[in-house]
């Protein structure tokens, strides 16, 4: 009898391994073919950090009523886009997912990302008429989702640490609103040995870009993100932008901004604020919930102020667009009915209560906040937004075909956030010239997108961006 040689042993091992692998793949492909909705699992992905616990619990409570296992997964906002991109290419999209992709609705529909949803009449009646907009939440009359957050919100409120402000002899319940008084207050914090202010200037510069856009509006810029409402032209080099950025430069040069802020992302800066390392932080309305999630003890020290204005007495008016759908149902969902019901359940009183208590973006019905059990600083911020944030005119609302132009737009860099970083750090010497270059580059990008969209048959023009009847301090085209 011949013994087994080394070669035959290796050969047998390879064959065994191949057989095992084949067997594994066979069984996994079988289970794969029956996975997803058919096996009774409804996958739900989102990027709302403040709602993580609420959503985990909600998934458990909804499973019995939807007769399916609801599995909730949280993704960090900065990684969610990439996760969705890969999941879509691999046909592994979750049944329900938050709207973080950044494509306009027509592109999502044509790219087979979204499924039409049907919302029960009782839920629909809870939503304001402005919640449904052709081109944003619906297309050709088909509904693809609804917003859960009010557009009356801000990325640029002033958040202070009560203990630090009191120590510096300042009144945390009366945060200064104009540049001069605010700068003086920061000076007092510095004199008291407290780091005065932090901002999220670093990472991709996205947050400081949003904040400078907001502050430019309260400084008198009659538009949004460089686009003037009445002329439809880009004017980042408008005096309002220059005023805001020069103010930030003054704070930086006077060493009133915490060292390192030039390199901070949002979470870096918020962590410094939540841990008490800094006296003041400019952040969105969601700062209360975000800080609480990082350091629960900060909640009792929170106080807030409105968005800053250049001079005392100026109206702190800001303008925002109509909100898009917060959640979508995937086009590949095996169980779109249950997915639609899950989304509809977010408008239930219980979920809305949990949402308000998480102190993230405010709900559609802002009145829920006043009667809720949240800190006064959050209530104050919401109250400011309710009175001072208005609906702005939007080309996509005037002409839904503009979505085809939006889908062809390309990133323009350096954007305002990058320019702020460069100017504060000394890389940019001529601020106005750099902002003019940004205006020209953005206008050129829109022109190329318009040209391509027209060539593809879209009926669009630059006139779609002009709103000569816009008036400051009013909602534009709000439903009566």
């Amino acid at each position: 009898m011949t013994g087994m040689t080394r070669r035959s042993l290796l050969g047998a091992s390879v064959l065994t391994a191949v057989g095992a692998a084949t067997g594994c793949s066979s069984s996994s492909s079988q289970s794969g073919s029956t996975s997803g909705g058919a096996t009774g699992t409804l996958d739900w992905w989102d990027h709302f950090s403040s709602f993580k616990r609420l959503n985990d619990d909600w998934a458990k409570t909804q499973s019995p009523s939807l007769k399916t296992n609801v599995a909730h997964t949280y993704y960090d906002a900065s990684k969610a886009t990439q996760a969705f991109q890969l999941a879509h290419q691999a046909n592994k999209m979750p049944d329900v997912y938050s709207n973080v992709i950044g494509l306009p609705l027509p592109a999502l529909v044509s790219g087979k990302w979204v499924h039409e949803v049907t919302i029960p009449a009782d839920i629909k009646s809870k939503l304001p008429k402005d919640a449904f907009t052709e081109g944003i939440t619906q297309l050709d009359g088909k509904l693809y989702g609804f917003p859960m957050f009010s557009f009356r919100q801000s990325s640029t409120l002033v958040w202070v640490n009560k203990d630090h402000w009191s120590k510096a002899g300042l009144d945390p319940n009366n945060v200064p609103t104009d540049y001069t008084a605010f700068k003086d207050a920061l000076g007092k914090l510095k004199s008291a040995g407290i780091q005065p202010l932090t901002l999220a200037i670093g990472a991709d510069g996205g947050r400081i870009r949003d904040q400078v856009d907001d502050m430019a509006q309260t400084a008198g810029f009659p538009g949004y993100q460089g686009l003037q409402f009445t002329t439809g032209e880009y004017a980042y080099h408008h005096d309002a932008y220059v005023t805001v950025i020069e103010f930030l430069k003054q704070l930086n040069d006077d060493k009133l901004i915490m060292p390192g802020s030039n390199n901070f992302g949002v979470v870096d800066a918020r962590t410094r604020y939540a841990s008490g390392a800094v006296g003041t932080f400019i952040d969105g309305i969601w700062c209360a919930g975000g800080s609480k999630a990082l350091a629960p003890t900060i909640v009792d020290k929170l106080a807030s102020g409105q968005i800053l204005v250049p001079t005392s007495g100026t109206n702190p008016w800001c303008y925002r667009g109509r909100p898009a759908a917060t959640y979508f149902v995937s086009a590949d969902s095996k169980n779109p009915d249950a997915a639609g019901k899950l989304i509809a359940s977010f408008m239930s009183d219980d979920y809305q209560k949990g949402m308000v208590e998480a102190m993230d973006q405010p709900p559609l019905n802002l009145d829920l906040v006043a009667s809720s059990n949240v800190v006064d600083a959050y209530k104050k911020g919401v109250e400011y937004c309710k009175k001072n944030v208005f609906l702005m005119p939007q080309a996509i609302v005037k002409n839904p075909s503009i979505a085809k132009v939006d889908a062809l737009r390309k990133p323009v860099t350096p954007h305002v956030g990058n320019i702020v970083q460069g100017y504060l750090g000394g890389s940019i010497k001529d601020l106005k010239a750099e902002l003019k270059k940004l205006s020209d580059a953005t206008a050129a990008d829109r022109a190329q997108a318009l040209q391509k969209a027209k060539a593809a048959g879209a009926k669009v023009s630059e006139a779609d961006y002009v709103f000569s009847d816009w008036k400051p301090g009013q909602d534009y085209g709000a439903a009566k």
Partner: protein
């Protein structure tokens, strides 16, 4: 050997090579070919539509000043890092190669620990250590009366700081190359030279350097090639900032492919192809280096 047994042997060779061939094809060859195709289309990665645009993406990349900025940053980073890595590690390897030095094993391991530590973790931890407001280095500098230094947020300091950290992180790899090279020099040569009255400097100049020349070429070329792949450390340390001062080409590609609100995979792929060509040129030099090294070693024998 009969033709049947040759065929059988070849078959077995291919069976054992198959996993490598398949994995290399799927994870290396296919992405390379795909990126060449993507560089010729306009595609956001979300949509199914890929519109063929010819060389348009290449024209846009070449016209983008920030691409040339990232090109410059990548090359400047290489110039900062390579001499430090190659020369300092040689000095350290010579010290650690000394048979009289105590605790050699411990010291060699200590210098190698950063190599096996995950780069992204080093980036995150170093951000805390270098924090200008509360990091230990700035705290110490402040106590000494110098004030906090914004190592990663200052436009002039960010790249050199990243370079120092990179050199520290990969010090152990180059050191191991040198240790291996040093151990190829026969000890008898040093002994004979010492008997002839040669001092330490002369030993280094007349024995060590000539004997290490072939290795110097190979190690330098390898190190140059390695410095082009520094995405994880740079991204976690600075994200390319402040104001693009540390935006190496890999971060530039990532920014266009994933960080844009509507990703531009065509533009990113075109930049990646150009970057790939740069690396290929270095690879060709590397091949030449290996060849030249072998020739030099052959001459020495």
């Amino acid at each position: 050997m009969t033709s049947r047994s040759v065929r059988l042997k070849t078959t077995w060779i291919w069976i054992f090579l198959l996993p490598t061939v398949v994995l290399y094809g799927v994870y290396t060859i296919y992405p390379i070919i795909a990126s060449y195709w993507y560089s010729l289309v306009e595609w956001n990665g979300f949509d199914a539509d890929q519109k063929f645009v010819g060389l348009s993406n290449y024209r846009e990349v070449f016209a983008d000043p920030l691409f040339w900025n990232s090109f410059k940053v990548t090359l400047f980073f290489m110039l900062l890092v390579v001499p430090a890595r190659v020369l300092l590690t040689l000095l350290l390897a010579m010290i650690l190669n000394s048979p009289k030095l105590p605790l050699i094993g411990l010291l060699r391991s200590a210098f190698f620990i950063p190599v096996v530590t995950t780069t992204a973790i080093i980036g995150v931890v170093m951000r805390f250590i270098l924090d200008p407001a509360s990091g230990p280095i700035s705290t110490a500098l402040t106590k000494l009366g110098f004030g906090g230094v914004d190592f990663l947020g200052d436009q002039h300091l960010a790249l050199p700081t990243a370079a120092v950290l990179y050199v520290w992180k990969f010090f152990g790899v180059t050191m191991i190359y040198w240790l291996a090279a040093l151990q190829t020099i026969p000890y008898e040569l040093y002994e004979a030279a010492r008997i002839d009255g040669a001092g330490t400097g002369q030993l280094f100049r007349h024995i060590t350097v000539p004997m290490l020349k072939p290795f110097l070429i190979i190690i330098t070329v390898l190190t140059i090639e390695e410095t082009f792949h520094n995405f994880d450390l740079m991204y976690t340390l600075t994200g390319g900032g402040p104001y693009f001062h540390t935006e190496i080409i890999e971060i530039y590609i990532y920014r266009w492919a994933f960080a844009a609100s509507i990703p531009q995979l065509g533009h990113a792929s075109a930049a990646a192809v150009i970057f790939g060509l740069l690396v290929a040129v270095v690879g060709a030099v590397q091949l030449w280096g290996v060849y030249a090294g072998r020739r030099l070693r052959g001459d020495q024998r």
